[in-house]
Subunit: 289 residues, 2 copies
């Protein structure tokens, strides 16, 4: 009974963090809309600064919020009864939606710069932002090719999963950092009377947006890096009886670690081979930092 | 022999990454010095913009480079024969040096703003930077109180270690993001003829500094999150015979995971208790994301 209570308590903690992340992410999207409609003249697609306004909205919505949800989608306990393949489609689908929104966001910025004869690609924001977008597209391409399509051998999946996880989280963090640079630039350039340094209401509002983006990133990073919140292994998933229960018989072991067990494993070769097999069975799902 | 060769190859890979991180970190410090001395009039402590110039130099040196080294100091294989306590002193000492440099850096920025009648604390850079510094000081204080001083019970150390690791890495990432905002601000404000948007040499140089800071952070994050590069458990460390060898008998298992093993452990209580003990023995050293 105490064991079950502890499980429920942990489940409650996960839900509380998920609710916080959704709230913070949703608030970020709302604040970016308020910023654009209240202070920046709303949206259009005519080369004016109102076309540029699509940029922050689509980036916050796609590159931060949707990417963040895509990162933790395997952690939602009520999806553990769904097939792994379905979850991979959802993970890849959310990231594809985000990528499309990001590309539109970039086009809106370039369009605006070109129409107003502003140079492109001079700022650190644009340099790191473009690198992040390219890495994001590559990550999505290789993710689909290796983990979603059925061609890659299990050994390759196991070897690439730690890299996929690492680069996914690094890109996500870099995207948030790039948002903060973008906010800084935009507030300096667009506020003049009073300027940014006089802290008009718009400056306070958009600083708060930046703060919320950092909090959102920190919440996602915490949720994704707790090993006991990982989706259980496939063979156990079938025994899940009700939503939110950790399946019985799941050893809480980190696969990323096991995949390196051969490097210094003192056990017999048979034992090591057994472990290796588990690692490969789980390759698509258990290898998170 | 093949086993040994694989170990050496892995050791070589670690050294290559370490050399890259040191090179990138060192280059960042050099570029910040070139920026200040070549383009911004050098250093002084008189309330002028030359006093402000201490800010980027000390932040890059202390808050990025030294903090980054402090994060991976337990990973250096030739330190595995040193006592854990000594390594904790080095980890805490490096972070203390960084904290002192950061405080001087902040004073130089405030001094400059006050002397030139510029407002303080209006920008997103200042908001997130101040939060990061406060969190960094708290992290250092609680880190010393819990993990260095001998008073905290082992159970508490085990419970707090994942939080210490998570908040340390999150602060480190946030610091780099804050640097990028600072670079963006400073280039916009200080370049006027030609402006930032015309990409004068100073803009290119300092954009490259920002890029190097991101690469440095990504390298540190990769090195610290590979479980097989962790310092081996204390009882095994004594059997290390020569620098760089992975001690025999080290099971490559993640303690952070094991510390949650009781949540869904199907094994006997005795087995679980044994694991629990290992977890607590290692509490100070093995629990990294």
């Amino acid at each position: 009974a105490a064991h079950g209570a502890r499980k429920m308590e942990d489940y409650g903690r996960f839900l509380a963090l998920l609710a916080s992340a959704l709230l913070v992410g949703f608030a970020s999207v709302v604040i970016s809309l308020v910023w654009v409609f209240q202070y920046r003249g709303g949206l259009s697609w005519d080369g004016s600064s109102r076309e540029f306004n699509w940029h922050p909205i689509l980036i916050v919505m796609g590159f931060v919020f949707i990417q963040g949800i895509a990162i933790i989608v395997y952690r939602l306990p009520w999806t553990w009864k769904c097939s792994k393949l379905l979850m991979k489609f959802i993970h890849a689908g959310l990231n594809t939606i985000a990528m499309i929104l990001v590309i539109i966001a970039i086009v809106s910025a370039f369009d605006f710069h070109n129409a107003s004869n502003n140079p492109n690609m001079y700022s650190l924001h644009s340099w790191i932002g473009l690198i992040a977008v390219i890495c994001y597209c590559l990550q999505l391409f290789f993710g689909v090719a290796v983990f979603l399509l059925p061609y890659a051998p299990v050994r390759l999946r196991a070897a690439l999963m730690p890299i996929h996880v690492y680069s996914g989280l690094t890109i996500f963090g870099t995207v948030i950092a790039t948002c903060l640079m973008g906010i800084t630039e935009k507030l300096i350039f667009s506020l003049s009377n009073p300027p940014y340094s006089q802290s008009p209401p718009e400056a306070i509002l958009v600083n708060c947006l930046g703060l919320l983006l950092v909090i959102f990133g920190a919440l996602i990073l915490w949720m994704v890096s707790r090993p006991h919140w990982k989706r259980p292994r496939e063979e156990n998933a079938k025994t899940v009886r009700h939503i939110g229960a950790t399946p019985e018989g799941t050893e809480a072991e980190s696969t990323m670690t096991n995949s390196n067990a051969d490097k210094s494993d003192p056990r017999s070769n048979t034992e090591a081979a057994r472990k290796q097999n588990i690692t490969f069975d789980e390759a698509g799902q258990r290898t998170t930092m």
